[in-house]
Assembly symmetry: C2
Homo-oligomer: 456 residues x 2
């Protein structure tokens, strides 16, 4: 098509996809099952249903159904913030002087500020469908907690968020967004759970941790009648819900006859990357098309590029199921980094298997170079990106600059997962020249990997 591509491609409402795509259905090598850490046996639906909603467990274990209908009420909620625009980065292209054509799928134009809302609304819907009273979850900086608060509010569900205490105290902004959407936000550790009370007794002055908040949220879910626990990344179900990102992007690209050469996404637990690349990887798996796909992770927490593909605990506390994934070891503590959303020691099992099978490559980038890219992007395109998203920006810029050298007019698509309005302490550090890169040594990683659980 010769039509001039607009700066922003918004699908019409009737063009928004009405089914999620389950990439597992096209995988020859399915992701390895979750194992019970006690028995080493694969987890069945009945093991998971006391913790997660029934329908979500079904989705978690379903490796076969290719297309899953998006419930009508979720489609209605989408109208609040979807379609998200696919933006042609004309300004960035000009700033770089590259012949590459750059597009980004922008998921940040909603109050939760990120793509997390896509899975939050689905998970809240199934909780409501099951007749539950409410759900529990944990949150660090608050991105996922905010998304789940908004979703629960829509369905009139109680939303109990355990927020890591230091974030609760030092980052009151997201806490207040959650409260505005009606969530109960509890600093963790708290005296509302056994595990919280135990930790408080042992470490009276503790400022909490994500592992501890998870434990409290799970306990709160299983000990209250009519409650379940919900999680915002890593799980297969989350990747399924996030496929809306890639499906919308592909619909918009197809509408204008654009075929990407390179697709780039940041990767923490994998929810954004898995969602963005799903339909494209599906084509690769079915041998219908080829794309170069790049996962970008922080050099401070490099699970794909320096981790091991092995069974490991999903949590630091070693109480959650074992998952086969690229991992740095559940005892790996990443150096303090502002990309809170990318600090998970492991990775989605789906993405781990796809990476193991060579469906995409991975690259680790350093924080200061990420903020350099973020600033360049903000100045060129106007939007202030989240530090997590800026990992993808870094590599998109690098690839566009390679095109400048070679003169190739490649089409690059990347995921801009969210905005950085709540990350200005990090921007301030960068602006003042105080930001540092801390990369784990080989010894650090080897020591952590030495503690991987033994699984036959």
């Amino acid at each position: 098509m010769k039509e001039k591509i607009p700066y922003k491609i918004y699908l019409e409402e009737h063009e928004i996809p009405t089914q999620w795509y389950n990439v597992r259905s096209d995988m020859k090598n399915k992701p390895a099952p979750l194992l019970n850490p006690g028995t080493g046996q694969p987890l069945k639906a009945e093991d998971l249903e006391p913790i997660f909603c029934k329908e979500l467990v079904k989705q978690e274990l379903d490796n076969d159904t290719k297309w899953i209908d998006i419930p009508e009420e979720v489609l209605t909620f989408y109208k609040m913030y979807r379609p998200s625009p696919l933006v042609r980065a004309y300004f960035l292209e000009k700033a770089l002087g590259t012949p590459a054509k750059i597009y980004y799928k922008f998921e940040g134009n909603n109050t939760s500020g990120s793509h997390k809302l896509n899975s939050a609304i689905a998970q809240a819907y199934y909780a409501k469908e099951q007749g539950l009273k409410g759900v529990t979850t944990e949150t660090g900086a608050g991105q996922w907690g905010t998304a789940l608060s908004m979703a629960c509010q829509f369905f009139g569900l109680d939303c109990q968020v355990y927020m890591v205490k230091c974030s609760y105290e030092q980052k009151p902004f997201r806490r207040e967004v959650m409260r505005t959407y009606g969530a109960k936000v509890t600093p963790s550790p708290s005296d509302t759970t056994n595990v919280g009370r135990k930790i408080l007794a042992e470490f009276p002055g503790t400022s909490g941790s994500l592992g501890c908040a998870i434990s409290e949220a799970v306990e709160a879910a299983v000990t209250q009648e009519g409650y379940r626990y919900e999680l915002g990344s890593v799980l297969n179900q989350v990747l399924l819900h996030q496929s809306i990102i890639g499906l919308e992007a592909k619909t918009a690209l197809d509408k204008y006859g654009i075929k990407p050469d390179i697709i780039i996404g940041c990767a923490g637990g994998g929810s954004n990357l898995g969602g963005l690349i799903a339909p494209f990887v599906g084509e690769k798996l079915r041998g219908e098309a080829d794309y170069r796909i790049i996962a970008v992770e922080p050099a401070s927490c490099p699970s794909f590029t320096r981790g091991k593909f092995a069974y490991d605990f999903c949590d630091t506390g070693m109480i959650c199921p074992l998952a086969k994934m690229y991992t740095l070891g559940s005892q790996f503590i990443p150096s303090p980094s502002h990309s809170g959303g990318l600090r998970f020691h492991g990775m989605s099992t789906v993405l781990s298997q796809l990476y193991h099978d060579g469906l995409f490559e991975a690259r680790a980038v350093e924080q200061t170079s990420v903020f350099e890219a973020a600033t360049l992007f903000a100045r060129a395109e106007g939007t202030l990106p989240a530090p997590e998203s800026s990992h993808a920006i870094r590599v998109a810029i690098d690839e566009a600059l390679k095109c400048k050298e070679t003169g190739e007019e490649k089409t690059i698509v990347f995921g801009l997962t969210g905005t950085g309005y709540f990350d200005l302490v990090a921007y301030g550090e960068y602006n003042s020249g105080k930001m540092k890169d801390v990369i784990p040594t080989d010894e650090d990683i080897a020591a952590s990997l030495a503690k991987l659980p033994k699984v036959d």
Copy 2:
């Protein structure tokens, strides 16, 4: 047209208006001229050009030209964040159970977080056209400063922002956004200007004020070669640039054959209200159509509803020109209120004249009821509104609830000027039940009005 109205109406790029509308051209009673406070004589172009850009002075004084071409480079910048959506508030209508049809023009989906960018980009453009090196301005909480930083960055202009010291220290977030966009942000009072040094010598511990920041910004503009001062509200030129809001809204409404019954906007200095209502007021002035238009102001700073239509100083320091406007007196100090953008003691002279001539009505609302409306809106429509914008939401909800009583299916359009991501301290106060309403007494206002300057 019978077509179902989408949740969000986005104009196509080619439908974005290419001219601003100058409402003064259709006013029979023109706004009174600015006066030199020393001589009492109307200010001429040559009086204003040492402070403001030449072309902006021309726009400021032009009461006759109806349509003014939007410069090509401003239209290009618009593509970064415009068109802004006109949203059908289906979710809010449902939450209220009203037969009214509610629409809002949402100006918050850009990193500056508000409509201020519309004038910032125009003002920066004319500075660049004039061959200037840079511009100066003041900012309180930072909304205008952020918008101007983004705009100057686009044209490679130096941007010097004097930020009220207490905001600089207590609200570092917007400061860092401005720095990310390359602005020089100086806490005011500072030792970089004579007026700043004088104030610091007199009041060593002062935390600054907007009046002081204005004085520093103006001094910095007139004492540096190649610099001018820019201002984000109140001025005629600003209302002209902001007419893009109303023009886009009207184009979108016309496209679907929708005729509003009631149009509602919040009013501080008048930039948003003036922009939103411009084409509708124009139709009223020309006798082509009738609309009920409501200006909403905070009960803590009620210039329209309790002020006097008289010549007054535009600033507390009594050094700026005299403007004929609805004013509470330049010495009026509004009680601390979180709607920082609505705390100006006066009002745009254009809007003041229109109000005096009965073209619209005004209503004052109290802060706690504004936050109640904001919370209701956030929960129904997803978007967290700015406190300023929420004044319009309050009255839109009130009018929709009246429709519920009477069964009337009125069409209500209001301006949602921005998002509340940087206003979460205020939301926190509201969420904790600690927010109070402070309304000035009749004696307060009378005392302040008694100090109005004498003008023949």
